[in-house]
Symmetry: C2
Subunit: 453 residues, 2 copies
Amino acid sequence: MDLGRLVLCRGLCGFTVAVPGAAPRHRGCAGDRAVSLQLLPDVYTSELRAGSLHDVYTSEPRAGSLHDVYTSGGKRDEELVLPINSSLSVTLHQDQLKTTTTAVLSKDFTADRLWLNGQEEDVGQPRLQACLREIRRLARKRRSTRDRDSPPLSLSYKVHVASVNNFPTAAGLASSAAGYACLAYALARVYGVESDLSEVARRGSGRACRSLYGGFVEWQMGQQADGKDSVARQVAPESHWPELRVLILVVSAERKPTGSTAGMRTSVETSPLLRFRAESVVPARMAEMIHCIRERDFPGFAQLTMRDSNQFHATCLDTFPPISYLSDTSRRIMHLVHCFNAHHGQTKVLWQAAYTFDAGPNAVVFTLDDTVAEFVAAVRHSFPPASNADEFLKGLQVGPALLSEELKAALAMEPSPGAIRYVIATQVGPGPQVLDDPHTHLLGPDGLPKLGA
Amino acid sequence: MDLGRLVLCRGLCGFTVAVPGAAPRHRGCAGDRAVSLQLLPDVYTSELRAGSLHDVYTSEPRAGSLHDVYTSGGKRDEELVLPINSSLSVTLHQDQLKTTTTAVLSKDFTADRLWLNGQEEDVGQPRLQACLREIRRLARKRRSTRDRDSPPLSLSYKVHVASVNNFPTAAGLASSAAGYACLAYALARVYGVESDLSEVARRGSGRACRSLYGGFVEWQMGQQADGKDSVARQVAPESHWPELRVLILVVSAERKPTGSTAGMRTSVETSPLLRFRAESVVPARMAEMIHCIRERDFPGFAQLTMRDSNQFHATCLDTFPPISYLSDTSRRIMHLVHCFNAHHGQTKVLWQAAYTFDAGPNAVVFTLDDTVAEFVAAVRHSFPPASNADEFLKGLQVGPALLSEELKAALAMEPSPGAIRYVIATQVGPGPQVLDDPHTHLLGPDGLPKLGA
């Protein structure tokens, strides 16, 4: 679900003008609310992968699967969506990557409905339903005192949700996480729920709980069987490391890799390496990663990021049947980064770029602002755009850079023209942004998608 | 080194006929010996990978690297070539895969020399020298009583070795193992050494020690620091499981994968998963694998084989910098096997084919004789030969088979024309074969390669 921004419109009842050709979808005023938030797909850096383990699962069309919480040793309620290890992510900036979502509640709606990029989707999807149920449950429990003067929204009201991306789809980014986080946040606002939304978002899409914060966010796996302590917290705000740059390398739509018929449940059940990783490797790495971020230690951050990405994919391969997310292009990108770093090892600090891969072949590469131009030049050199070279780089402006002959020699790779479709340059960003401009609404006064939304 | 067969010719001194245009290279009779053996590249099934860990290393142009023996906790003499875990392999039949090697000792040779497929190679290669030194040391220690009537060969004699493959090179098969095993065996015969040749072969190319036996062979890692107990032993002879078939899928020479700049030493140093694997996973798997072989339990054998192949490659990926041997074609082959097995799960026993990958993208697939034809048909279907369809299948005859519509549907993969260059069908084979036919010698009476050798 590509949910990114929910439109907050107080007094939506003002929109009960009848739309020609369609029966008015909502009437009355009090009680109708919609919330708009701007969110973004999140990208997982350290690959301390509870969230991504879970997300790997959600990207597969399987419902109701959950990996066990290893420490408790027991099976968990499949709806709780609890991870087997903690994880950390970096929230990206919405100027480059955002989705817009409008959600409207109305007593006149007869059913929950969902539109993604103009297409109506199945709202019965278990994760969405779990998210809705959870927010409605919280709303019943905890009404905010802020809106005491407004009549309470009936919890039986149905919701319409519409969502659109501002970047090309099929980028393979973590849109579902952003979506559920946004939905959770929006519904919470609408219902006046002010409690920790980690649980709501988490039940929709595990790592979505991290999308509720900007900057650097940790998802603490928690120990309790009921998951109450499995929450997200901000490790450092987006302003903490302004030099950090993030490049998303979107690979060409190659033949679909062998995919993951296994799913993450199977990983936990069949991979000895995964259990060992969760129990013996991740805890220390989490602490180390948090330290690197707080100290702005790029070399440490870079090495940990790459090693953990690789270890995650190693455990996918150790699953039976195996899961393969990395394509040949993914591996060539990894090789490029290692060559780039090794080259710089001669004259400068060794670690200048770091890759990480989620549940797909697209790469996320971290650099500092003083290196990003040279790295983009190296990417162009090894992965020359097949066409439309002007459109190869999107997002933040990145100046041109010349590659030294030494670096070209270090990048001793046969070029792969067109293997990378485009690159999005971005940086660390804030969490959900509430917007009040009604022109940004994706749903019209009738609760249906506006033309072109 | 592609050493496979050394020519045993008693009384080679009979060849002291002068060759026109070349000075006679050896004269006299007593003392000149050459040994011929037929060996074969070996392929590692269970991927219980001490041997292949080591071999991964030897396939890299690095000398003198060795992984620690994990249990002893100390660094080993780099020449001892000791593994961090035990391993098991299946020796293949030389009718399908063999290399021929001739070795000649003569007091008239002025230097050790080596020819591979007609090209002279560097005999100073450390592993070859280690092998030679070891056999000469053993010869000094233990002279066989068999040749008491012959004057002892001087251990200062130099050796000429020539080797040729009977299958196309660049098949990525474990030729170095066969080569060193052959050399060890041959030199031992020449020098009358009858002790366990594990050590000699092992020091040339770790897993070569397994090539000294036919059938199913275990390389016991051993515990001693001096490596004396790191030896190979036969688990079951080649006659034990006559229904077993082995298919070698040679993939096209795709762009070279990112390769392993790291090497196995780096794996041991940087991969937490590898240490865990060696210590906590392999021992039990070895026992289980030996049990499956002895019981001819194909489903058990198959699952273990695939899981261990995957785990090996998982630890390669967990190395830093990472090592990637599997290409996209490799993964499509894995997917094919899983689909093939899942399909059969409806009506027959589930596990009917098993893949394993060594330090390269080529696949080795095990099936039983009642399934091999159907599997080959499935390979042709998903990986149609780009050209020369007649030459696609080499080795043992495999009859045509029709794929059912259900199976075609199960193999729901976009075909990859030409991704597999050819397939070699073979079976379990015996160990070294001594041949006495002088016509098979690759070196002439002058000790130089014959024309066309």
